[in-house]
Symmetry: C2
Subunit: 251 residues, 2 copies
DNA sequence: TAGTGGTCTAGACCACGAA
DNA sequence: TCGTGGTCTAGACCACTAT
């Protein structure tokens, strides 16, 4: 049925050195198809049996690939229904990407008040962080985010303009940006890295957040990456942590 | 070979309602044995074949159980050698439990300077956080931790005295506390939850960290839990984040 | 009832590490 | 050389969902 080492999708060479386990090849191919937008967020993937037949591997191998994708939150498996591409709905954002929760009460999604949105040449730092050539165009958004009705976060978002044509040109900018990236531009935020520091607010920042200058705030520097690992968004947030805290699970 | 639903370890009932998949039962039993100290940190577990034979399940079922434990960092699998109970060596602490890293350079383990260590009745808050009855004895340690040779963290650690008899009574308190808990008291820290806030340092705290009062600092409140989920340690850290940051992976 | 993912088994061969 | 975990297969039955 199979040679000693089958290679999915017949990449040509007999894969002597540098071969990879079949299930990893299957996993990578499935990711590739998601990147290409073959299946959009919320859509069902083919069944394990169908994928196995198409790729010429056993169902167990497809299953192991899908299990890994599920562990990375890239797909959601539902018994009796199928396997679906993960969506960036508010529930997922809340449990995966938004770590600021009230000291008392349940996690909640912040409202947004846009202060500015523009397209311009990126600064040196912006281009480096986003992996762009110096001087490439970026989209820059500044907004205040409210929790429990009060200003809690001053947030600046910087995006590669090439990935998001037309974003912010008069359009409304929705509260849930990752959902917009996915639905309008086919860009899926798959993971992010955050760097946290404690800082003092400058007068301007303090005014936006309606506290006194010199008030302490949590400074969060986040770089979000897409399915293929390329930088998609650089986001810097200044968070008031008087009634909230950043939740971190060490497992 | 097996009834419709085998139950590992013959817990008596035929497991009608509330039965659990075999691999979960196997996983829980393995955790139970680690809790009991049957295999100490760093020791090898029996091979998959041996465990399968002993428990009367297939090797695949044991494997799935072990894979889950490996995903939780409770065991480490090494091809060709065996499966080992995870240790709290500095490498693991560094990648799993110590998230404060230099802005430039590699993560490093902090040195410690003990300021106080005492055994006393716990405060109301301490007893609540640790799940103890009001007024139970706790061990309280206060130390300054140094990174790159300079004070960076003021840390207070509170433990249930009952779990750690004799700790701090003249003994040296090592740098790596989780290693001590495991090796001397058979208590394995398996996971923890942290709450982060930005605060201003009070005069006394500032003096200990050799900065000016009112300097911003990252306030980290950590509750660590053992294999069975019971609270083991409450730790509050005040961290200078001028040259360091807290690293958080969102995956 | 049909189709999906979830569990469990049995057996084969491979890659790695230690003796 | 042997024993370990790692990969892959094939097939069975179960639980859940939709129709």
């Amino acid at each position: 049925m199979h040679p000693t080492r089958a290679t999915v999708a017949a990449s040509g060479e007999p894969t002597k050195l540098g071969f990879r386990p079949l299930y990893m090849q299957v996993r990578d191919m499935l990711v590739q198809r998601m990147v290409q937008g073959l299946w959009g967020p919320g859509e069902a993937l083919p069944s394990e049996q169908d994928l196995a037949a198409e790729l010429g591997v056993s169902q167990g191998t497809v299953r192991k690939a899908l299990d890994e994708l599920a562990a990375q939150n890239l797909v959601v498996r539902r018994q009796g229904r199928g396997t679906f591409v993960a969506e960036h709905d508010e529930a997922r954002i809340l449990f995966q990407f938004f770590k600021l929760v009230p000291d008392v009460g349940n996690p909640c999604f912040p409202e947004s008040r846009i202060l500015s949105a523009e397209r311009r040449a990126g600064t040196a730092e912006e281009c480096i962080r986003l992996g762009l050539v110096t001087g490439a165009d970026v989209i820059h958004v500044h907004r205040i985010r409210l929790l429990q009705g009060k200003p809690a976060i001053s947030e600046t978002v910087t995006l590669p303009a090439g990935l998001f044509p037309g974003l912010g040109d008069g359009d409304l900018i929705p509260n849930n940006l990752y959902g917009l990236y996915a639905s309008e531009y086919g860009v899926t935020v798959a993971k992010a890295v955050e760097k946290l520091k404690a800082v003092l607010l400058a007068p301007e920042e303090a005014e936006q957040l309606e506290v006194a200058p010199g008030h302490p705030a949590l400074h969060i520097d986040r770089l979000a990456r897409s399915l293929d690992g390329s930088p998609v968004e650089w986001r810097v947030s200044l968070c008031l942590t008087d009634a909230f805290h950043y939740h971190s699970d060490l497992t």
